[in-house]
């Protein structure tokens, strides 16, 4: 498999350096290089990539601000000169974190991580259920039973037609783990089962009588996903 990637990096030298490694690897195609996050976001609105090599500190929006606005979750390798972003990188669930300048060996290790994660995601995408830990038990929830998932700070609430389950997790973490064929993030605090959507009015959707906001950044993603005749 060849990964379709983009580089978001304001330093041309760093981007050229990375492009060379991508070429050498034979498994990463660089489809575009952007000097800032804003241009990359415009591109990502209409294009899907497997992987983003993302600098953190850039003029204008930062790499993390770009991640906040993404409508879907490609794999991300952060490339930065500083180590102080490691904690944020962990929070954003990025695949790897490369401190510039990095060696070819270190680059290959990062690509191996991308490959492993891809395998895991492909395995997960066939899943029709998930296990959650709630009230001291592991509970099996079928995707079809879940209406939506709501953030409660460090906890999330799984809403089913008959019961609510609270578990220690975050929407950001769940976003990469739920089956993307069934679930989608519509707001920083909500992931919905879009087979359960009853109707959509402006920036709100309704599931089983529950009103769920759709954020501006996720609106076009929602509209693309639903089947409008």
């Amino acid at each position: 498999m060849k990964y379709q990637s983009i580089i978001v990096e304001d330093l041309q030298v760093a981007a050229d350096f990375l492009k060379r490694f991508c070429e050498k690897s034979g498994v990463v195609d660089v489809v575009h290089h952007f000097l800032n996050a804003e241009d990359a976001l415009l591109f990502l609105k209409d294009n899907v990539v497997d992987l983003i090599f993302l600098d953190v500190e850039m003029p204008g929006a930062s790499g993390f601000e770009l991640l906040d606005q993404l409508l879907y979750t490609p794999q991300v390798i952060l490339t930065t000169s500083k180590t102080e972003y490691a904690y944020s990188a962990f929070q954003y669930n990025v695949t790897d974190y490369l401190k510039k300048p990095f060696t070819y060996q270190r680059f290959l290790e990062a690509i191996q991580k991308v490959s492993k994660k891809t395998e895991q995601q492909n395995g997960n995408s066939d899943q029709d259920h998930m296990f959650i830990k709630s009230d001291g038990k592991l509970i099996r929830l079928h995707n079809d039973d879940i209406l939506f998932i709501e953030s409660m700070g460090d906890y999330v609430k799984f809403i089913t037609p008959v019961k609510k389950y609270i578990t220690h997790n975050t929407i950001k973490n769940l976003e990469t783990k739920v089956n993307p064929q069934v679930f989608m993030k519509v707001h920083r605090s909500y992931i919905v089962n879009f087979t359960k959507i009853n109707d959509i009015q402006e920036n709100v959707l309704f599931i089983n009588g529950n009103m769920i906001p759709i954020s501006k950044t996720h609106k076009s993603g929602v509209m693309q996903k639903i089947n409008i005749l």
């Binding site: 330093l11 760093a14 050229d16 060379r20 070819y104």
Partner: protein
Amino acid sequence: MHNEQPKILFAYSPELDSDFLKDLYGEDLQQAEMVFESSVQQLRNELVLAGARFHDGDTAGLKKVVHKMKPLFGYIGLNEIIPEFAAFEEVCMKATHISEAEKGFNDITTITEQAIQKIEKEIRRLKQFNTQYL
């Protein structure tokens, strides 16, 4: 008997961090040549920009330029320069008037010009090696 040609290795100049460069570029000396060339070009451009910001009395703008120049030294084996640039960024950030950044500006200008000279020399050596052996 297997008669293998001995591998000819390139030795980086001692004024650069040669162990680091060997680790960074490995045997890909064409990449080293390409990155050294673009780093020098960018350092030259940024130095002109830094001069303009300094003469405009724009410490915030000067800090931005210096911030962009700093990581370039990491690609050319001159890592020891990076802390000096980081320190000058701090000076720019704290300066209430451009005069407070004057000494630092002169220092980083000299450092950059010396770095450019060293790297230009290394580019010539790399070019010669790459043409001869690759």
